[in-house]
Each structure stands twice: as structure tokens, then as C-alpha cells.
């Protein structure tokens, strides 16, 4: 038989997998016992479940078929080992890149106090992947982007997507205001159905339609933060009332609706060749204004 060492390795891995499956059964029985007896410490149950997840991953992670599939992008998010591998791959490069952009551009603590993304949010403008932090041309960002929300745990949830511009100039107070550009709620997301907005996405409620990002002439770039929240329940758009774009406070909205922030993205916008036309088209005031540096 060819590849003798490889065959021996496969046998050893198979034996280990059998051991892990037995351990999984035992752990599941233990958890059921603990749950049945009730009155438990949440921490005990949490650590027992964590150990069970670890066992389920360890059963398959030495399988060369799993590695072959994952390297080719053939991923079944129903299986815990693929979820683990996807999470690890995201945390290797794309998440640190996103965090670098968010930190350097001070998206937090400007818009929200803390940000710890646990879901992957790939955003596409006009079908093209856009790296977080890029200065997007006005024409490209005239229409809303399409995005996915990829959770790495087995869960089904309702998500809210919010786009906020924290750099709207306010000459009177010599500072900046917030402006809401987009608010979409009740987006159903599961670990298998990850398209939030775009082709193949399920029905959701657009509470505040997309406003094209615009920066006035003479101004430096505006940062735009896209935040993804996990809702605790269904949000009724009628009960929300009038949501004002100008002076939108993300923190209070988050607290009132009892939402947890789970993902983020950011991009930038500046005055370019198409901004004036877009501002005129959407009747946005300020297309005829220009900011000039004053010398005191």
C-alpha cells in the first residue's frame, strides 16, 4: 500500500476522532444532568458548553478532507469545525485590518464607546469589495452598499445596520455634528443565511433611506461608520416615531432599543468631481458653499 506513514497517520487520527466522539457524548450527558438538576451557576454551564464546542472542533480539525475543503472555500457553516476555521481566518488578517482602520480613524469612541467586532461584515459598493477606510467616490456611494453579516456561532438573529457621519461641520459652535445616513432594521441573519442587504437577502425594514455621503468643498474627508447591531427583539418601525437625521445620537438609540453592537465597518468620503451634481440631485444644502481657511 503506498504512503505508509500517511496511512498510519490517518489510522491514528481516526482512533483519536473515535475518542473525541465518546467524550462529546459523555459531555452532552453531563450537561443534560446539570440542566435537569437546575439551580446551576451560569458560569458552570457556560464553561461546560465551551468544552463541548472545543471537543466538537477537535474531532474534525485533524481531518485532511476538512482541510482540503476549507482551502478550496467549500465550507458548510452548519458544522462547528468550519465555523471555527472561518473565524480563525477572519481574525488572522481581515479583522486586524478593520480594527486598525477603526482605531486610527477614531470611529470609537466618537460614535460608540467600545467596539469589539464578532461578526464579519464584508461590504460591497456596486458589487466591488471595498477595503475599510478607503475614500469612496461620490458616484459610487450614491446608492447604498450591499453587505453580508457572517456570524461564527450557530445562531439566528435580527440585525440592524446603521450608517453615521460624525464629521458634519457646524460653523456656529465651531465643531462637528452627527448625521444619520441609513437605518435598516429587522434583518434576519443566521450562520447559513449571511446576506444582509443585496441579492438573496431576506425582507427587512428600511427605516431611514440611504442618503448619499457628501463632504462640502474645501473640507477634508468625512468618516462614515457602518455599525451592525444585534436586536433583542422585533423593532416596530411605527413605534419608533420620527427619526431625525441631523444630530442623531447612536448611543441613546442603542440603549433605547436594547441593541448590542456586534460588527462594524468604515469608509471615507470627500468633495470630488461628482459631489456637486449628486447634492443638487438630492436637494442637499451646501452644494454652493465652500470652506476657506480663516486666518485669525
Amino acid at each position: 500500500m503506498p504512503f505508509q506513514t500517511y496511512q498510519m497517520a490517518l489510522d491514528y487520527i481516526k482512533k483519536d476522532r473515535a475518542e473525541k466522539l465518546a467524550a462529546i457524548k459523555e459531555q452532552q450527558a453531563r450537561i443534560a444532568e446539570v440542566v435537569k438538576q437546575g439551580g446551576t451557576n451560569d458560569r458552570t454551564l457556560h464553561s461546560m458548553n465551551e468544552h463541548l464546542d472545543w471537543l466538537m472542533v477537535q474531532a474534525d480539525i485533524n481531518n485532511p478532507r476538512v482541510k482540503y475543503n476549507f482551502d478550496r472555500g467549500v465550507v458548510d457553516m452548519n458544522k462547528p469545525v468550519y465555523r471555527f476555521l472561518m473565524d480563525r481566518k477572519w481574525r488572522e488578517y481581515r479583522r486586524p485590518l478593520l480594527m486598525q482602520r477603526l482605531e486610527q480613524m477614531h470611529i470609537f469612541p466618537d460614535i460608540v464607546p467600545h467596539l469589539d467586532p464578532i461578526v464579519d461584515v464584508p461590504v460591497r459598493f456596486k458589487g466591488y469589495d471595498v477595503q475599510p477606510g478607503t475614500i469612496v467616490h461620490s458616484e459610487v456611494s450614491e446608492n447604498h452598499p450591499t453587505l453580508k453579516v457572517i456570524p461564527f456561532q450557530k445562531k439566528r438573529m435580527l440585525c440592524t445596520v446603521l450608517v453615521v457621519d460624525p464629521d458634519v461641520p457646524n460653523v456656529e459652535k465651531n465643531g462637528f455634528d452627527y448625521r444619520l445616513h441609513w437605518l435598516v432594521s429587522n434583518i434576519p441573519i443566521t450562520h447559513t443565511h449571511t446576506q444582509a442587504i443585496g441579492t438573496g437577502a431576506k425582507r427587512s425594514d428600511t427605516i431611514v433611506p440611504w442618503l448619499p455621503p457628501h463632504a462640502l468643498k474645501g473640507e477634508p474627508y468625512h468618516r462614515l461608520g457602518l455599525l451592525v447591531f444585534e436586536q433583542s427583539g422585533l423593532i416596530d418601525p411605527k413605534k419608533l416615531g420620527e427619526i431625525k437625521r441631523d444630530g442623531f445620537n447612536t448611543r441613546s438609540f442603542m440603549a433605547k432599543q436594547k441593541m448590542d453592537i456586534i460588527g462594524a465597518y468604515m469608509f471615507r468620503t470627500q468633495w470630488d468631481s461628482a459631489t456637486k451634481a449628486i447634492m443638487q440631485k438630492h436637494n442637499l444644502p451646501g452644494w454652493d458653499k465652500m470652506f476657506v481657511r480663516t486666518k485669525d
Partner: protein, 129 residues
């Protein structure tokens, strides 16, 4: 001059001063065998087989390490239990066992500690003389 040039071609490589040595030096400078092995390039299947064997070996080493650690932990716990049992039985002997008085070097005929018990067992008839 012309004759010398013609003669050189017929005789072959000149064994002049520095020629062979320089050639050898240059050869061994550019072929450091054993020091920098050629980086291997594996195809997909070859790499996958290598990965599988590596994972299985790491798993094997892990199991060995865990069993060794578990055995050590069991032995440590037994030692502790024995000391506690002694404390309950005889206070004076317990204090003697824990005392660091008169501890200097090891006796020359002490048995070197091993993982497994020795074949000879405990020598109940041992005397200092």
C-alpha cells in the same frame, strides 16, 4: 606568444598558481551542502499528506505528554495523602519528615529517583554501617 596560446588549448586546464584553489573556493562558497538545504516545493496532495502526518505526530506527542503529566499529578497527590496520613498518625514523625535539619549532601549510596519503581524494591534490612 602565439605558440603559447596554441599550446594552452592543447594541454587543457592550466594548473597555474591559484586557479584550482580559486575554482574550489568559488564552488564551495556557492554550494553550502548541509547548511542551507534546498527549499522543498510540495504539490497540493504531497502537502496535504505532510500536514496529516504532522498533525498525527503532534497528537501522539500531546497524548504522551498528557499521560506523563497525569501520572506525575497522581504521584504528587499520593505523596501529599501519605504526608497527611502521617500527620494524623504520629505528630513527631511528621515533624521529623518535614524538618530541614541535618540536610546537606545526599548519601553516596542513595537510589537515583526514577519514573517507575525499581526492580529491587525497598531494602528493609539496610544499615548505615
Amino acid at each position: 606568444m602565439a605558440a603559447g596560446g596554441g599550446g594552452r588549448k592543447k594541454k587543457g586546464k592550466k594548473q597555474g598558481a591559484g586557479d584550482t584553489r580559486i575554482r574550489l573556493i568559488k564552488y564551495f562558497l556557492t554550494h553550502p551542502y548541509m547548511h542551507t538545504p534546498r527549499p522543498l516545493k510540495f504539490g497540493t496532495m504531497r502537502m496535504l499528506r505532510h500536514w496529516t502526518i504532522h498533525r498525527a505526530w503532534q497528537l501522539f506527542k500531546r497524548n504522551e505528554r498528557m499521560s506523563r503529566e497525569r501520572e506525575l499529578e497522581r504521584q504528587y497527590n499520593k505523596i501529599r495523602e501519605a504526608c497527611e496520613e502521617l500527620a494524623r498518625t504520629d505528630g513527631r514523625l511528621y515533624r521529623v519528615s518535614l524538618s530541614k535539619k541535618d540536610i546537606g549532601t545526599f548519601p553516596i549510596d542513595i537510589r537515583i529517583p526514577t519514573d517507575t519503581p525499581g526492580a529491587r524494591g525497598w531494602n528493609y534490612g539496610w544499615t548505615r554501617g
